[in-house]
Amino acid sequence: MLRAAVALARRSLRTTLRRPQFLAPLLVFPSLFLAINTGGLHRSTDLPGFPHVHGFLDFQLAAAMCQSLMLGGVGAGIATALEIEGGFFDRLVASPIPRVSIPLGRIMAGAVIAAVQVVYFLALGLIFGAHIAAGVPGVLMVLLIGIATGTGFAALGVMLALRARSASTVQGIFPLVFVVLFVSSAFFPRKLLSHPADWVAAYNPLSYVADGIRDPIISSITATTVLEGLAAALGIAAAGIGLSVVALRGRLREA
């Protein structure tokens, strides 16, 4: 199963690299948002209750990563839906490979792309003057939480594609990415969010992921925050993979 999944993951990555128009939005749009948020609201760090940070860019890096990882999930969903629409998925189902390896391949590719996304934003941040307060261990923690989250969002994207079977339907969840982001502590500290966003943010797993990614960037590693972030990321990954396997079974039953 693993060999087939790895082969499909490599194929997915090659396809993604061949069509950079699908990869570019994952990096370009969050980068633009990062620039606008940082340039437009850099004085927000003066607000009472804002955590002590070296600069607003340090704070916003986690938001850019979360946004990019969520868009990565939409991208994985669109790619899967295009394979369903084009008939490639049916050929894979008919081939002598474990069927679970079909979504797993795409999800593994999502994990690799997530690593690229996290490294890209860390590099971008460092180039423009951000500091990683927790140093190399902090970078590794950010990478770990980022990859787990990216894996989860890719799995959720695959699940949606298996249910919807249409790329345009999967594309339609694009605005939902921003809804989930805005009602989390990704962009602003939770206690400075307006009501009811602050209330929703307390229950939004993305808040814990964002805080977990942010903590090693703006301070030394705080065990509770980072472990909560890691747990939320692994929870998203486990739920996403589980739901995508269930969606695959449902699709095979209907076929």
Binding site: V28, L32, A35, I36, R43, F182, V183
Partner: protein, 254 residues
């Protein structure tokens, strides 16, 4: 002249009919700026407490941004529709009809201006529900006219891109220009509170004047000085991008 006007009206009506025939296609253009309005207000609302932030609240400050964003999305969507027409061969049939190409462009662009009123109205109603104060008839009319103007500017831009790439896959290139044009301004905060690099860009970006014009009534009073700067900026953008779009259209298929 009369014949050309009839062609412009017919093309505009065709574009407007799409709203009724495929209402789902219009939803993202309405939903996106509304989500941004509600989301940004919820996330960054406390930023209005910063010294020098001369607005009653962040939502009021950001409403004109969302109105312009919606207009820009609508303009860019016009280019996506044109790319679809090119892909499906319908645009080739338009080109062989005995109408000047400038007329075809006018039809495409005027439809964008009219369609932009839909997201602008929706965003404004949501803003009122969120507690934003009435900007006055003059403030509202200026904001909507400027939104229509920006929709035509983005329609010119997306037409150039559609004629160049001839595929709907170029849609991100059309949208990203709107994103940059509207947000790299005083969108999030007054100029004095921006980072120095963004303040420089906002000073050069003509859409900053358009946004300042649309913001009148919402923040501060309507003044002739701000209004004419906004109108001149939008006319300048229309002139430059319109000329480039006409040039692209004349060269198309030659």
């Amino acid at each position: 002249m009369n014949q050309s006007f009839r062609v412009v009206v017919a093309l505009s009506r065709r574009a407007l009919n799409e709203i009724l025939r495929v209402p789902g296609a219009a939803i993202p253009g309405i939903l996106a700026p509304t989500i941004f309005l509600i989301g940004l207000s919820g996330a960054f609302g406390k930023a209005a407490q910063l010294p020098g932030f001369h607005a009653s609240d962040f939502t009021t400050f950001i409403v004109p941004v969302s109105i312009l964003q919606g207009a820009g999305f609508t303009g860019a969507a016009t280019g996506v529709n044109l790319a679809r027409d090119i892909e499906q061969g319908w645009f080739d049939r338009l080109l062989v009809c005995p109408a000047p190409r400038v007329t075809l462009l006018a039809g495409i662009v005027s439809s964008a201006a009219l369609r932009s009123l839909l997201p602008a109205s929706f965003v404004f109603i949501v803003a009122l529900i969120m507690g934003v104060h009435w900007p006055g008839v003059d403030g509202l009319v200026i904001a909507f006219v400027l939104a229509m103007g920006l929709a035509t500017v983005m329609a010119f831009w997306s037409t150039i891109i559609a004629l160049r790439f001839r595929t709907q896959q170029a849609a991100p290139l059309m949208q990203v220009a709107n994103f940059i044009a509207v947000l790299f301004t005083t969108s999030y905060a007054p100029k004095d509170l921006l980072a120095s690099w963004l303040r420089t860009i906002a000073s050069i970006n003509p859409v900053t004047h358009v946004l300042d014009g649309a913001r009148q009534g919402f923040v501060g009073a309507v003044t002739w000085h701000t209004t004419w700067q906004a109108v001149v900026s939008i006319l300048g953008l229309q002139l430059v991008l319109g000329a480039l779009a006409v040039r692209s259209l004349r060269r198309f298929g030659v």
